[in-house]
Symmetry: C2
Subunit: 240 residues, 2 copies
DNA sequence: GGCCAAACTTGACCCAGATCAAGGAATCGT
DNA sequence: ACGATTCCTTGATCTGGGTCAAGTTTGGCC
């Protein structure tokens, strides 16, 4: 892991302050974090962590998108997590990385060396409480994804994925010029996330387009014309 | 949830003491747990918790097997967790249950009312540390299962499942009369766990049998004649 | 601005596993 | 002990999505 070290911005001005692992910390606690944090950047496609490698830092995603992936002996891969801004990388008490972490776009991380961070955790309930919340949210998300991977059709998988992008983006920004979205991943990466092939992803996106449910501006940018239809195609139970 | 309340056994004699959420607690801490715990039993097939229901207790599995399941609007279901003795049900800070919890066999739980348990967590690091460990282990397991559901073939899924049973049973008991195992689930339940149909599960088990890798004693009990071959079929990377 | 590589789309064909269908074997209640 | 119900096996057929194979678009780079 060798990434350029950037000049930090002040925590008070950090765009992910409200959701990241540090979101409950104020004043003195924040000052300590401020002192031990280091920003690092990765180019799109760069490997952030390798499976099995010693994990010597933990980090929050400040900007960009990273993926967590697992690989079978013959090279088939499955993405097991998608890290968007404010998401957390690393686990207290884990010496080694359990999966490959790759920058899907240019990524900036707010890194903390693991040992100091773990020590801080022990004496900072605001930090450890938030970290437990984050871990449990990830567990819920992983289980939702198990349902998707095990039982949903290709169409339902794509619809669920786009629906997730809508929800996540409405959390992030209040900009929200209605339903204009960006795919954070290539077709192949989407396929690895959904347990499909890139050809099937492409076909399903084309099908949604020709049904008038979405409309592409270019390869990555599109607009959702009919969010309700999209949700109906996701196969999920009624909650909205 | 209305299950018979059993007479408790002493924590000191509890068969799951060494792995359950209470495993780090001793002396006074254990006395408190002892006081607030209640054993409850469920018949095979009984529903322990319903998705969306208020979760008013948390629990450890003392004996038997329970499943965590999610369901799509049209009834397709995916098992998202398998709870064996010492596994934990429920999450601090979660008001509602996220999935159906069903007794796959007769099950005995060691239950704690949620509120008192959460209060205890705040003042008992031995308890909360162990709970975080358990949650992170579950997250790792969920991600391994995502790889299985998204990318493995039917054969690989079955091999992985049996391999998991071997590992788990060698953890549990030192009885371990070599490689004699019991399927904790029906064919249909295995199918729901692996993202397959019950017919495919049956066919794959028959195939393993006719390849001389496993041998059935009856429907549920079998012996693994060739654990290495089984592992080789699982598709996983080399570690062992 | 034009070439090249990478990313994507689309078509034709195929196959693993789903679905449909029929028995067989274990278990339960009487 | 006996139907009867539930669970499981096995066979026949079908199909969604994978695989293979061209093309097409896009964006990067001299």
């Amino acid at each position: 892991m060798n990434a350029p070290v950037l000049s930090n911005i002040k925590c008070g001005e950090c765009p992910i302050r409200h959701r990241a692992v540090c979101s409950r910390c104020e004043g003195a606690e924040l000052d300590i974090l401020e002192k031990i944090k280091v920003y690092r950047s990765f180019k799109a496609g760069g490997q952030i962590l390798w499976r099995g490698e010693a994990m010597d830092f933990v980090a929050s995603v400040v900007s960009g998108v990273a993926t967590l992936g697992k690989t079978l002996e013959d090279g088939r891969t499955q993405m097991v997590g998608l890290l968007l801004p404010s998401d957390f990388i690393g686990r207290p008490g884990r010496e080694r990385v359990e999966f490959d972490v790759i920058a899907a776009s240019d990524v900036t991380l707010c890194c903390f060396d693991r040992k100091p961070f773990e020590n801080l955790l022990l004496v900072t309930p605001h930090l450890s409480e938030r970290l437990v919340e984050i871990a449990l949210d990830e567990l819920d998300a992983a289980r939702d994804w198990m349902l998707l991977l095990g039982r949903k059709t290709a169409r339902e998988k794509i619809a669920t994925f786009i629906d997730m992008l809508i929800r996540r983006s409405s959390l992030e920004e209040e900009t929200a010029q209605n339903d204009a979205l960006t795919l954070p991943l290539s077709r192949e990466e989407i396929a690895n996330y959904l347990g499909l092939t890139l050809e099937t992803v492409s076909r399903q996106l084309s099908a949604l387009k020709s049904q008038g449910i979405i409309q592409f501006k270019d390869r990555r940018n599109f607009e959702v014309l009919n969010p309700q239809a999209l949700y109906d195609l996701s196969g999920d139970d009624s909650p909205n």
